[in-house]
Symmetry: C2
Subunit: 410 residues, 2 copies
Amino acid sequence: MSQTRKNLIVGQSGGPTAAINSSLYGVVKEGLRQKEKIAHVYGMVNGIEGFLNGTVLDFEEALPGEELEYLKTTPGAYLGSCRYKLPEDLEDAVYPKLFQKFEELEIGYFFYIGGNDSMDTVSKLSRYAKKVGSDIRVIGEPKTIDNDLVLTDHTPGFGSAAKYVATTVREIVLDANVYEKKSVTIIEIMGRHAGWLTAASVLARKSVGDNPLLIYLPETAFDEEAFLKKVEACFEKNLNVVVCVSEGIHDKDGVFICEYDNAVGTDTFGHKMLAGCGKYLENLVRNRLGVKARSVELNVSQRCSSSMMSKTDQKEAVSAGEFGVRLALKGETGKMVSYIRISNLPYAMKLGLEDVNEICNKEKTVPLSWITNEGSDIGEEFIFYALPLVQGQVEVPVGTDGLAKFVSRK
Amino acid sequence: MSQTRKNLIVGQSGGPTAAINSSLYGVVKEGLRQKEKIAHVYGMVNGIEGFLNGTVLDFEEALPGEELEYLKTTPGAYLGSCRYKLPEDLEDAVYPKLFQKFEELEIGYFFYIGGNDSMDTVSKLSRYAKKVGSDIRVIGEPKTIDNDLVLTDHTPGFGSAAKYVATTVREIVLDANVYEKKSVTIIEIMGRHAGWLTAASVLARKSVGDNPLLIYLPETAFDEEAFLKKVEACFEKNLNVVVCVSEGIHDKDGVFICEYDNAVGTDTFGHKMLAGCGKYLENLVRNRLGVKARSVELNVSQRCSSSMMSKTDQKEAVSAGEFGVRLALKGETGKMVSYIRISNLPYAMKLGLEDVNEICNKEKTVPLSWITNEGSDIGEEFIFYALPLVQGQVEVPVGTDGLAKFVSRK
């Protein structure tokens, strides 16, 4: 064994996804493989915030042997997460404090799995390392169901979330079709600023003219009157109309539909009670069109459903984790692992590295040219883009109770 | 071929489930097998209401060959449904109208798949048949995620819905655990009067003391102040508290929590906007306890998720369908197919027939002795009862798009 063996530490940050633990698995697995260069693979509990409080685990103790395998099918963030932004000022006292802790733990490789806020952490730590001449290598592993990171074809977590949305919408369409009575079902899907996940509802459509008949993203302005006209037009050919909307749809003045005054009540304490835009539109449709209406908020299952994991997403997330470790060992730092699409048919992808400073705090939205029908539908470009990402079923191991077996920290 | 060959007709009624098409598959498959006694297997589209309007399909044309197999993994009601109650008065003109249609179609066997309202239809049709001396045999096939039918150990559809609830709650618990900050997650589960499905959330618990920490059914009265005290007590040992509630929880005066005045807003039209009890409790917890709170309504996926189907539920539903046909051919009528549990370890069940008049318009609720901790938890009796029903994974066939392939009427 050489004297230069260092330790690796990895953390998770931001909202969890179905694949964030697959990325973690990739980092840990490759870290453990590289015995000649890496002595210990540590995890920081609750991200950089938890690390500052001193909570660290050793993966060989926490998930020995086969236990580690369960990470790949466990949703949520195994290590816990945080929403902590490092100070802009690299002179802040938190940096030397962090780097002293790194030194105490003999950290040579720092991995952070997260979205654009987390890449901000990667950027700052790598810049600070350069500033003080530390040789710690800092690598970001992308993660977000929102698919809104720039400089990568897509993000780990998006394929599984998209598969959940596509399949669940397809099921809800079946559910909506059972009665022979005019009805509107509004499905509210996650995505405040970027509509990628809502766009995935188009994959639920089995053929042209099939539900969901209308799809609205936050990339374009939402107009109530135009929407009601579209719904009425749908009724000419369909009894049951299913509409998918992003939680973040807003009008031309930028006001979120879920914030429209009439959509909320007031509780005993005089506090506003926010209903989602789905609930608002349900009421709008019922009142204005006089038809049966209901709304369904897909909610957190979009990011934590194990049964709807995409095999493609899972495999890519693992590879991205492994790749990051190998490249860090080659000396890379201040980079985020990225996905580069080589071809669409057959689908082929390779991994790359991008300057994390070009990624953090930026947001990639759905191209306007992919949004059709005056902002009420999604074009074929998106289908070609997204369909490869939802392919493949993952078998979730079951425990002695016959239900999905997940791992969690002791 | 004998002159006595008659036709079979089957319909679906009430809310759909993940297994209602498995029951349908069983009836159709067995009907098609009995070529010597049954000439055609028809389906009534949109239940008895649609049948009155003359919409009937022939299964050999609608789902030829292998197409029929997809029924078993297709959620929703393939034949469509209705919520139509036949008149109490058997002298009503609708009865001779119906029976004339049966005669025109040479129907000898009438099958209706549904809950207690649908069993009311079976009861009335069988009583009318007896009254007019018709030899049509009328059989009910149970169906409901609510599990509230009497004289049967459980109902087709419940096992799959229970599995969805147990697995999804387990996933949401992981999602709730990621931040190191006090939080309450309220999960609202279907069930207006019977809490069977909400009780299934106890299966999500991996060990004693694990989330969901509190479970409330509509079988007992809900008290806000006692609830808030329980939540506070949970915080002594847990940072993240997950609470599962039936949509139908109510106070000691029978007022539904979701109808508490403060839980609703008013829309532009002055109409009440109902938020669920989950939303109400979320706000209550946030305001009274000053902690982070969110609510998740599991919504229609509880009854239409194909990926969470229980193999046990699916197999039993198919068997119940087949069994009903064989017994109708033996002369049975005015009966509902029932499940009789023979043993729990190992789980064994046999099929029976019960007088439908003893079943319709009744409701089976969770025994009060199975509800523990002053109405805030579920005892082991329920776990022993429910665990066998959620066992086994079902592989859902995928189509050319790589997503779940379902069948629907042309």
